[in-house]
């Protein structure tokens, strides 16, 4: 019915039929979509290397009557090879991909998310503290999805801290105002880092110090917001990531 070309990042690639692969792409113009790459599991396939997970490419696709698109051709622009040489970095990268796949509707343009994911993967390749990049990605993705946490002051009285993070209202609540039973304490340092992540994104992330304790605090905030935004709390890649982190 229609053929088009677009930049895309392969989020997931799984075996399909005898020699095909089902490829989940985050494309620049058409957002999230799933396409069939025919015959790519055969040795002779030219497309095989171009539909590997985490590959950024320029693809030619065909959308027929089926909901699945067909990947016709592709040119690989970046394989993010450094991420494949370190299982911990790979787990982080695939966690980013799983978050995008879970949170975006199919066939709806998501240019800001596409750009954010590319920035995150590029940062991750040179990152010495992958958890820092993960927290920054989570918060910025939440912001793009419309779940940006309110971190300036108390949501109710605009008063100063110490604060608790209140999941139902998605922001900080001071000790004088009534928070919900789910509210939990967050340190001033964690609030400052979260604000920095949201204001500057990945810009000069390497100079931002985020000790493990702070990362844990921020992750608690992002986790509850991700559960609200995405509607799920269990991410397979995150579980593997945790098991790899414990092993380090």
């Amino acid at each position: 019915m229609a053929e088009w070309k677009d930049y895309g990042l392969v989020l997931r690639s799984r075996e399909y039929r005898e020699a095909d692969r089902l490829v989940t792409l985050l494309t620049r113009k058409r957002g999230l979509l799933t396409g069939v790459a025919r015959g790519v599991r055969k040795v002779q396939s030219k497309l095989a290397a171009r539909v590997e997970p985490l590959t950024l490419g320029y693809y030619q696709l065909h959308q027929g009557r089926s909901s699945l698109a067909t990947l016709l051709q592709g040119e690989a622009l970046n394989h993010h090879r450094k991420l494949c040489s370190n299982p911990l970095l790979l787990a982080h990268a695939q966690y980013f991909c799983e978050l995008c796949e879970s949170s975006l509707p199919e066939h709806e343009p998501a240019v800001p998310v596409f750009s954010l994911l590319l920035q995150a993967l590029t940062t991750l390749e040179a990152e010495t503290q992958p958890a820092r990049a993960a927290r920054c990605f989570e918060l910025n993705l939440l912001s793009l999805l419309g779940y940006r946490p309110v971190l300036d002051a108390c949501l109710f009285c605009r008063g100063p801290g110490p604060y608790r993070f209140d999941p139902p209202s998605g922001g900080l609540v001071c000790s004088r105002c009534a928070a919900s039973a789910e509210a939990f304490a967050v340190s001033g340092a964690a609030v400052a880092v979260m604000k920095r992540f949201l204001e500057l994104g990945f810009y000069r992330l390497s100079v931002c110090r985020v000790p493990a304790v702070l990362s844990g605090e921020i992750h608690r905030v992002s986790r509850v917001l991700i559960a609200k935004a995405v509607g799920k709390t269990r991410f397979k890649s995150l579980e593997v990531l945790h098991s790899l982190t414990e092993g380090h």
Binding site: R12, R17, E18, V43, Q44, K46, L47, A48, A49, R50, E52, P53, L54, E75, A76, H79, C84, S85, N86, P87, L90, A91, Q94, Y95, C97, E98, K236, S237, E239, V240, L241, S243, L244, G247
Partner: protein
């Protein structure tokens, strides 16, 4: 639509990977036309394979009994072990007739998106096997894709401190292929892995 027995047979074929409703129905009607003895033989083969086949306690390959045919073969080179992802990869390697060492089947590759980490693979068994053995070289023959590469790097990292030489199978162009039709990734890997003649 079909009598109960045929419907049950179609349902049974539908459980196989890559078989859709049409193919399942076609296979079911083919079976109905087969001689009774052949059908009985096929059914027996299915049940016997399921009952008698297990995993080799040493390498993880398919076997009948405790050890597979390869692990029982004492003429093989005990100093070399080839690590593969799946039991079917053993067969592919054996077809080369070049490798005379032993195998270790991991049972998959690290794939965070599928929830598979090193703990879900037979990595602990491999480390136990290498400890105090005569193995001098470990060949990592995991698939040349993202998951296979990550697994190979992980294994190299945990095994090198044991003093075992760790090597990776080469990446490159398939025999008989034309250079001009090769994709840029394969070609760049082939260049990286070039060797002196």
């Amino acid at each position: 639509m079909y009598p109960g027995t045929i419907a049950r047979l179609i349902e049974a074929f539908l459980k196989l990977p890559g078989i859709g409703p049409k193919t399942a129905a076609r296979l079911a009607f083919f079976v109905l036309k087969m001689p009774r003895e052949e059908v009985a033989g096929m059914a027996r083969a299915l049940v016997e394979a399921r009952d008698k086949t297990s995993y080799c306690k040493l390498c993880g390959n398919y076997c009948e009994g405790e050890r597979c045919v390869i692990c029982r073969d004492v003429r093989r080179d005990q100093a070399v072990v080839c690590v593969v992802q799946e039991a079917r990869d053993v067969l592919a390697m054996e077809k080369t007739r070049e490798f005379r060492g032993y195998y270790h089947v991991l049972g998959g590759a690290i794939s965070p998106l599928d929830g598979i980490g090193p703990e879900q693979l037979r990595v602990r068994e491999l480390l136990e096997r290498l400890g105090g053995s005569q193995v001098r070289e470990l060949i990592l023959a995991t698939n040349p894709n993202v998951e296979g590469e990550a697994t190979a790097h992980y294994l190299a990292k945990v095994i090198k401190p044991l003093g075992v030489r760790v090597t990776r199978i080469a990446h490159g162009l398939p025999v008989g292929a034309d250079l001009e039709y090769a994709d840029e990734v394969t070609l760049s890997r082939a260049l990286e892995g070039r060797r002196e003649m």
